[in-house]
Every structure is written in C-alpha cells, then in structure tokens.
Amino acid sequence: MRRLLWPILILAALLLVNVIFTPGFFSIQLREGHLYGSLIDILRFGAPLILVSLGMTLVIATGGIDLSVGSVVAIGAALACLQISQDQGVLVAVALSLGLCLLLGAWNGFLIAAVGIQPIIATLILMVTGRGLAQLITDGQIITVNEPAYKLIGGGYLLTVPFGILIVLVVLAVTAFLTRRLALGVLIESVGGNAEASRLAGIRARGIIVMVYAFAALCAGVAGLMISSNVSSADGNNAGLWIELDAILAVVIGGTSLAGGRFSLGGTVIGALIIQTLTTTIYSVGVPPETTLLFKALVVTAVCLIQSQAFRDKVFRRRGGTAPPQPVNEEKVRVST
C-alpha cells in the first residue's frame, strides 16, 4: 500500500482544489434513475483512459511499451460504426471490431516476441499504419450512427450506474483476479524482469508477451467503442489521438516502472483518475484553453518530482532511522543462447 500513498494523496489534493472552486463538487444525486455528479463524470469520461491504461500496465510490466493503442482505438471505433451504419446487428459489429483489435494486438506481440523487434518500434509501425487503416475503413469521413443499443456502451446507464463504469469494473475485476489470484501476474513480472531467464526457467515468455499485447489492444478496442458510442460517431483521424501518452503517464504515475518487472493495477487506476481529474480541474478552475498543456506539464512534473525518492530526500530531509533502503539501479543481464 505504501507505494500507492503518494498517488492517492495527489488525487485527493486535486479533488480538494476542485471543491474550492466548485463547492458542490462532491455531491452525487439520483436524477431520473441515473447517478449524476462531478465525481461520476470523472469516472465516466475517464473510463476509456482507465481501460487503455490497464492494458498498458501489463505491457509495461513485461518491459515493453505500446504506442499503437491510440490507433487501435480509432480502428475499433471505425469498424464498429461502419458495420452498424450498414445495418449489421450491434453484437456482430462489436464482436467483429473487438476481434480485429485482438488480431492487431497479437500482431504486435508476434513482431516483438517472435521477430525480435524492439517494442517501441514494432508498435510505432502499427501506430502509423493504424491511423491510415482507420481512415481507410471510414473512407476519410466521419461515420455517424444512431442506434440505441450501441449508445448504451458509452453513454447509457444500467441500474442507475453509467454503463462505461460497469465495463471498467468488470475488466478490472477480471484482470486483478487473473494476475493476482492466479500465477499469471508473477509470470508477467518475471518476463519483465528478464525474458531470457524466464524462458530458461520454463516460462513461455513469448506466449505471455503476445498475450499482453493482445490484451492491451482489446482494452483499446473497448475504449474505442466507448468513445465512439458516447459521441455516436467514428472519426478515424482524431479518435484516441495521443491517448497512448496519457495511458503511459497514468501507468507511471501509478508507480509502475517503465523498466518492467513489477506492476500495480490499483496504482494505474488512480493514475488514470489523476489525469482525468486534472482535465476536469482545468475546466473548473478556468484555465484558458491555450495554456491547458502548460498547466498539464507543470502538474505532471510536480507529480513525478513528489514521487521521486531522491527529490523527497533532498526537500523534506528525512530524519534518521526509518528511511527504507535505497533502491539499487538494477541492471538487466542478457543471457545469450
């Protein structure tokens, strides 16, 4: 839990800033059988980012990185909307679109695990190509759909709770169960620690790498469905643009190291919430739109500094005794076959 202390404090601080500017910020109301309130909005609009970040967490835990999720978001949204606009059933459309996303993710994993291309480059290829593919699917247009059943995914409610939040909870529960109750999480961390050593120890490192990239793409696909369903249209050019950077940021703020080898799902969720709250804060504090990025940069820097052990030691001057051992800069050993 100690690891999550700083992210939680930062999230709390951001929420408090909001309360100062918007007094009724914490109130949650039940209107017409739906939950309403700023906190619900943060969860609802943050749902796609949380999903993408969950997938990214596992990828980063294996020591990789996935730059292609933004493009996969666009492809998932484009294919689903295209199918629906051609009078396909919503279920068929969703299944087809998620199937394609899984395939794209597996392709990433194949390039990295079997061909041996560095993750950042392998996924960069799909990042560039995928944007083109999404525009090819929509033929360069913005496809609008008007289908109540599809609208449910991103904009609807089930049992008074926004449907998107329920999806996130289900994915989070399943992922947490698979990685923390079964051995899968340990296997992923071991691959991230040293893929070659894991393979020699009898772990199917390649299979696991393909799996995490497929999972990341699947999460991105679901996020794509949410985003397009919320606005009832698919824009191949702008859907999910730069979401990969926000997702990586969320993962790192949540305490997962980019070097791989360990991960924290709870931290990632908090990290994604911090980023979404930041966006909300920017609006509620009334930062002019031109300086939004500037504000974001300052907060991100502050967040990273606060999380840095070296910075805390320098600024807050630990007083003897309880200081934990300094983490040693770990070097990865390359074992050749």
Partner: protein, 328 residues
C-alpha cells in the same frame, strides 16, 4: 562470432553490419525508384531529400546522442515548434534582428534540454516521462504565444530560404543543408574523438560499469539532453527558413520521425551501439520513402500513412533478418 565474413576472406566487424544493411537497402530503394519512375535516378533527387529534411537530420543527430545513452527525448518536435514560434513572434512583433533572435532561440532550446536532463539525472525520473512533460510544456508555450501561424518576413531569413548554392553539373543545395552537414560532422567528431563521446557510449552500454569506472555519468546524461535541446532549437531555426512562418502546430509527431530515423540507422534503443552515419542514412531512407510516394502521385492521405508504415515494417524486418544472420 563478431565478424561477418565475405567470400574472399575479408571480414566486417559486426558493429558495422546494421549501418551497411541500411546503406544497401537505401541503394536498393533508389535503384527501384529509378527503374520505376522517369527522372528519378538523378543526384538532385538525393540532394532534394537533404534539402527537404535538413531540419529532421539536425534533430535526429541530437536524438542519436540521447538514444546512445539509453534515454529517449519525446520533446524534440515541440521544441522545434516552439523555436519557430519564438523566432517568428520576436521578429514580427517587436522587430528584433535575427542575430539576436537566433542565439536566443538556441539558448531557450538548450536551456529546456538542460532542465530536463537535470530532472532525469538528479531525481532519477524516467526520461520518457520527463521529456513527455517537456513536450507538453513546449507545445503549451507555443499556444500561449499565439494560436495562429505567424509569417516571417525578415530579409535575412528570406535570403536563407531562397539562396541556392550551386554545386557542379546543375546540382544545388540550400544553406540549410550546409548547416545540417556541419552539425553532423561536429557531432561525429564529438562522439568518436572526445571524452564526452566515450562517456556517451559507455553510459549507454552499462551505466553501472561506467559509474564504477569513474566516468561522469550524471554530467554526460545532462549533456546529451542539452545537446538534443540545442539540436531541436537549431532544427526549429532551419525549419523556419524552410517554412518562413512560426506555428504551434509545426512538427507535430516529429519526435517519432526522429526516433524512427535513428533506429532505422541501426542504433539500438537500449543504448551503447550505433553510429551517426546510420542516423544520416535513416533520415535519407525516410525522405526517400516520401519522395517515392510523391512520384507515385495518386495516393490519398490515408494510403500514404499505410504505405509509410508498411515500408517501415519491411525495412526493419529486412534489417533484423540481415543482422540476425550476421550474428550466427
């Protein structure tokens, strides 16, 4: 083990293989283009690639330093945009002369790099995140200065933009290419013949070992990000020669082009291995891909993205196959 034998008993050290593979693939692409399109296989086509990508080359040189130490710099595209923005706004608004503006821009870029390098070194924060924040910061500063494109009308800049330096036999280059060439030569000298260069390779090879050997690892890391910041600012100046405007949306996604160029050139993202010549070839390959696409003519914008992606894929795959074989 460490050499690739060629028929007649001559051998090439393994470290040169990726660069040579890139060089061969570039030559192959050039020949293929020459066979397919009329008027393609001329020297001026190669020079045009240099002219159109001089700024990318300068930025990629800075990126090479960073990647050689095992880091990454995502801020370069935004710093390029910020440089064009600062230059354009200072010259068009208060009418500052270029000989004040250009050094100022270079100073701002280097300063940003210095701060990022310091944050990475002193507080042990991951480069990806620090430079991502730097990317947001620089882009945010651009929009704060102005959201519109600002034209540059300064006579010195327009002269730089329009001058043609004639070489032999109808071939010509722009002054930007000369600047880029000087940057490449100086950078190659620094990397291979100075202490800083040695320290850069050593830090990327193994930070722990470099530290134990007593090399100034911290100073090296700060230095490479400063160099990258300087190169980005210089790239921004060269881009403003080319575009004759400052705009917050210039060079969006350029960091990815720069990283791709460095990697295509055979430099490993884990650091420690690679050559500046590879980066030059990488920029040439990216530029040639674009030239071929423009010769093809009829492609819509999304097909361009798909084809660039596929070519990048084919290229990395081929390079991977060749260098994998050479290691056997």
């Amino acid at each position: 083990m460490s050499t690739l034998s060629l028929g007649g008993g001559r051998t090439i050290p393994a470290k040169y293989v990726p660069v040579m593979v890139t060089a061969c693939l570039f030559a192959a692409m050039f020949l293929a283009g020459g066979v397919r399109y009329e008027g393609f296989a001329t020297g001026q086509i190669v020079l045009n690639v240099f002219i159109d990508n001089a700024f990318l080359l300068i930025v990629a040189v800075g990126m090479t330093f960073v990647i050689l130490t095992g880091g990454i710099d995502l801020s370069v595209g935004s710093v390029v945009a910020l440089s064009t923005m600062i230059a354009a706004s200072l010259m068009s608004g208060p009418g500052w002369p270029p000989y004040v503006v250009v050094p100022l821009v270079l100073l701002v870029g280097s300063g940003l790099g210095l701060v990022m390098g310091y944050l990475i070194h002193a507080f042990d924060i991951q480069p990806f995140i620090v430079t991502l924040a730097g990317m947001f910061l620089a882009r945010g500063l651009c929009y704060t200065i102005g959201t519109e494109s600002i034209p540059i009308t300064d006579p010195t800049f327009t002269v730089f933009a329009q001058t043609r330096l004639d070489l032999f036999a109808d071939l010509w280059i722009s002054p930007s290419v000369v600047i880029a060439a000087v940057v490449v030569v100086v950078a190659a000298y620094v990397l291979h013949y100075t202490r800083l260069g040695r320290a850069v390779y050593a830090t990327g090879g193994s930070e722990q070992s470099a530290l134990l050997m007593g090399l100034p690892v911290g100073r090296t890391k700060v230095a490479v990000y400063t160099i990258s910041g300087f190169c980005s600012a210089l790239g921004g100046v060269v881009l403003s020669f080319y575009m004759l405007s400052g705009y917050g949306l210039h060079a969006v996604g350029m960091e990815l082009d720069a990283i791709a160029a460095v990697v295509i050139g055979g430099t490993l993202l884990t650091g420690g291995t690679g050559f500046l010549l590879g980066t030059v070839l990488g920029v040439l390959v990216l530029g040639l891909i674009q030239t071929i696409l423009s010769f093809e003519g009829t492609l819509s914008s999304w097909w361009t993205k798909i084809v660039i992606g596929l070519l990048l894929f084919a290229f990395i795959l081929l390079q991977r196959l060749f260098s994998a074989r050479s290691r056997l």
